[in-house]
Structure formats: structure tokens, C-alpha cells
């Protein structure tokens, strides 16, 4: 991949004596959607965390946009996550005391955008994800599907270049799950963001351009298997 945006090479990560990653490979280009699949405990989330600079791998290199992520300081990686990456997790990710709109605006505010402007832009994204009417509600007062859309809006509000989604539809029924996926993919495509999508569900993975399977900490690129 000549023009890969984010890539990981020969990644190793061990927790205690549990090897979570054992030589995993990954690469993604701008605007590409790559699904990571594999059995439970195979190291999918660990791979995602490494790629996003949340966890530092024991060995291996991660390159993002020409920079070596593994060589960056914790502060540098945090700054990068604030400015370039968006995140959607399975559940429990909204700050319960903030309203939905404040939740969506939060990443912008962490990037020092003024509150008014942050919330205006947040509201735009909530409209795109069809949840603008929930702006004033708190996460405790909305449904799981609605919460996931808020989370997607929050992930996209900074116009990230990569969105990391770890089982974003894991807690949703198929209809809601697919709706969230369509909105996520549609919105990401419109901003040319790449998506790293960890999922168990084939129907969700089917929204990707390409999939890799992780088994026992090793990755396998299915495009090449075919």
C-alpha cells in the first residue's frame, strides 16, 4: 500500500503472560473502511488500541501520516487523538452528567474550540445523525441506539481522519445496528475519513471495503486470502 494513512507492522503486546498481539499487521488508506474480525480474546481491541495510540505496543512500528506513533510521547499521542482521531465504543462512553449536545461538543472543546461554536457544530452533526431533538437530554434518558448515534456524532464532530469503532453496534438490534453503520459510513465517506471497525457481526463487517481476521494475536488480510 503506497499511500497508506495508518499502518502497523509486526506488532507485539503481552499482558502479564497473555500474548494479546503476536506479530499483527495492519494498514488502511484514507477513506477506506477496514473491518477487524476474529474470535473473542484474539486481540482485536488490543490492535485497535495500539493503532489509535492508546496503548503502546511492546514492539513493532505504527506509522500515521508519515509519523512514527510508537516514538511519540504520551502527551503527543493524546494531542493526536484529540485532533485527528474519533472513537466509538460499544457502550458506557457518554459522560452521564453532560447533556447529549455537550457530549458531542466535548471533543471540540478539548481542542479549545469556543463553547458556542463547539455546540453549534455539534448540533449540525446531531442533525446529520437524526438525533438533534435529543440535544438537551442526558444520556440516562435516551435509548441505547440513540446513545450510539450520539457517540457517532461525537466521533465525527472534529472531522477526524481516522474513526476507530470497537463493536459500535454490539449492543443494538439489527435494524438499529445497521442504521448506525449506514450513518457512520455515510458521514465518514463524506469527510473522507478512514474507519477501523472491530466487529463480530458479518453484516456489519459487510459495510467495510476490506476485512482482516485476527487469531491468537496474528492478523490475516482476507483480501489476499481470496
Amino acid at each position: 500500500m503506497t499511500d497508506s494513512l495508518l499502518s502497523g507492522h509486526d506488532l507485539h503486546k503481552t499482558y502479564g503472560s497473555t500474548p494479546a498481539l503476536a506479530g499483527a499487521e495492519f494498514t488502511i488508506r484514507s477513506g477506506e473502511v477496514v473491518a477487524i474480525m476474529g474470535p473473542s480474546g484474539s486481540g482485536k481491541s488490543t490492535l485497535l488500541h495500539c493503532l489509535a495510540g492508546i496503548v503502546r505496543p511492546d514492539s513493532g512500528t505504527i506509522r500515521y501520516d508519515g509519523r512514527d506513533l510508537t516514538a511519540m510521547s504520551d502527551g503527543g499521542r493524546s494531542a493526536l487523538r484529540r485532533s485527528d482521531f474519533g472513537f466509538v465504543f460499544q457502550f458506557g462512553q457518554l459522560v452521564p452528567e453532560l447533556t447529549c449536545l455537550e457530549n458531542v461538543a466535548l471533543p471540540l472543546r478539548l481542542n479549545a474550540v469556543k463553547r458556542k461554536e463547539a455546540e453549534a457544530r455539534g448540533l449540525e452533526w446531531m442533525e446529520r445523525l437524526e438525533v438533534a431533538d435529543l440535544a438537551r437530554k442526558r444520556p440516562g434518558e435516551i435509548s441505547g441506539g440513540q446513545g450510539q448515534r450520539i457517540a457517532v456524532a461525537r466521533a465525527l464532530v472534529i472531522r477526524p481522519r481516522v474513526v476507530f469503532a470497537d463493536e459500535p453496534t454490539g449492543a443494538l438490534d439489527s435494524l438499529n445496528g445497521e442504521r448506525v453503520m449506514q450513518l457512520l459510513i455515510g458521514a465518514a465517506r463524506s469527510t473522507d475519513a478512514a474507519i477501523v471497525l472491530v466487529t463480530h457481526e458479518a453484516r456489519i463487517a459487510a459495510y467495510s471495503d476490506r476485512e482482516i481476521v485476527v487469531r491468537d494475536g496474528r492478523s490475516r488480510d482476507m483480501a489476499r486470502a481470496a
Binding site: 474470535p39 458479518a202 453484516r203 463487517a205 471495503d209 476485512e211 490475516r220 482476507m222 486470502a225 481470496a226
Partner: protein, 180 residues
């Protein structure tokens, strides 16, 4: 199911032969043992298939026992036969319902002949996902009717895929069972 079986019986028998020459009767027995859960293979079908394979040069007669009925013929696989099996195993099936029997057969044969069964499953998996992607694309662009039809197919394919995953996860177990 019948159709599937008929389509793959030649390859299956070829695959069984790969582990060593054997008599038509033994071939039927080992086929029945491994794949003939619902219905045993008829002798007639074994012989007609074997003669087709003979004609195509994929097997050859390895020897005749005295008393010489057709069941006394001993078959061996030719190089062309091995290649044929190889290609068949490596070729993903067109995703469709009731695929498991064929896939199962392939996996068992791969294990029997020491090939990488995981590879077969992964290949199939990629094929399935490619089709699912295609259906998903059609679904997103299509009207409600298309969507419903596509979803139906998608759910079935997903079920297959789950089976593929499950099988992949159980390959170790299966190997032990088959090799015993």
C-alpha cells in the same frame, strides 16, 4: 442436497483415494463413514463415478483381485487427479444455502490429506464477505423491495459465515476426531 452431493462425489472419492489406493468397496465404506450420515452411497454410483474418473485420467487401476467383479478393482489416484482435488479444494463455493455439506467435505478431506483446512475456511469466508458487500451495496442503493430481498440473503450468508467461524474455531477438535 442431492445435487450438491452428486456434484462433489467425484472430487470426494478422488480425495479419499489420495491417502492411498483402495478397492471400490472400501472407498464406499469410508465415504459412508465420513459423509454418508443421511444416506449411504449406492454401489452403482461408486462404479459409475469411478469409471468417469478413469475415463478422464484422474484415477487408474492399481490391480485386480482374483475373482474379478467390479468391486474387486483397486483404484489409485493419478497426478492429474491430485491436481484436480487441489483445485477443487482451493476454489471457494459460490455462496448459497446448504453449502455446509460441501464445505464440510472439503474441510475433512483437507484434514485427511494434511492440507491447511483453515485456509479453505478463510477463502470461503472472504468469498462470502465479498458477496455480502455486494448485497449491502445493492441494499443501500435499492428500494425497500431490494432491501428486503438483500437482507434475506444477507442473513443466510451471515449464518454460513458464523458456521465458518465456528468451524474454524473447532478445527483442532475436528482434526483429532478424524485422525483417530
Amino acid at each position: 442436497m442431492r445435487i450438491v452431493l452428486v456434484m462433489s462425489i467425484g472430487h470426494t472419492l478422488l480425495g479419499l483415494l489420495e491417502s492411498g489406493p483402495c478397492h471400490g468397496y472400501d472407498l464406499k465404506r469410508s465415504f459412508d463413514e465420513r459423509f454418508g450420515r443421511d444416506r449411504a452411497l449406492a454401489y452403482g454410483q461408486v462404479y459409475s463415478t469411478m469409471s468417469r474418473l478413469l475415463k478422464n485420467g484422474l484415477v487408474e487401476i492399481d490391480g485386480l483381485e482374483s475373482g474379478g467383479g467390479p468391486e474387486r478393482k483397486r483404484y489409485a489416484i493419478t497426478d492429474a487427479g491430485v491436481t484436480d482435488v487441489e483445485q477443487w479444494l482451493g476454489r471457494p463455493e459460490t455462496p448459497e444455502p446448504y453449502l455446509q455439506s460441501t464445505l464440510y467435505t472439503k474441510v475433512v478431506l483437507a484434514l485427511l490429506t494434511g492440507r491447511d483446512a483453515a485456509d479453505i475456511l478463510d477463502t470461503q469466508r472472504a468469498e462470502h464477505l465479498t458477496m455480502m458487500r455486494e448485497l449491502t451495496r445493492r441494499k443501500i442503493d435499492g428500494d425497500l423491495g431490494d432491501r428486503l430481498i438483500c437482507d434475506h440473503a444477507l442473513f443466510h450468508l451471515e449464518a454460513d459465515l458464523r458456521w465458518l467461524e465456528l468451524t474454524a474455531a473447532r478445527l483442532g477438535e475436528l482434526t483429532l476426531e478424524i485422525r483417530k
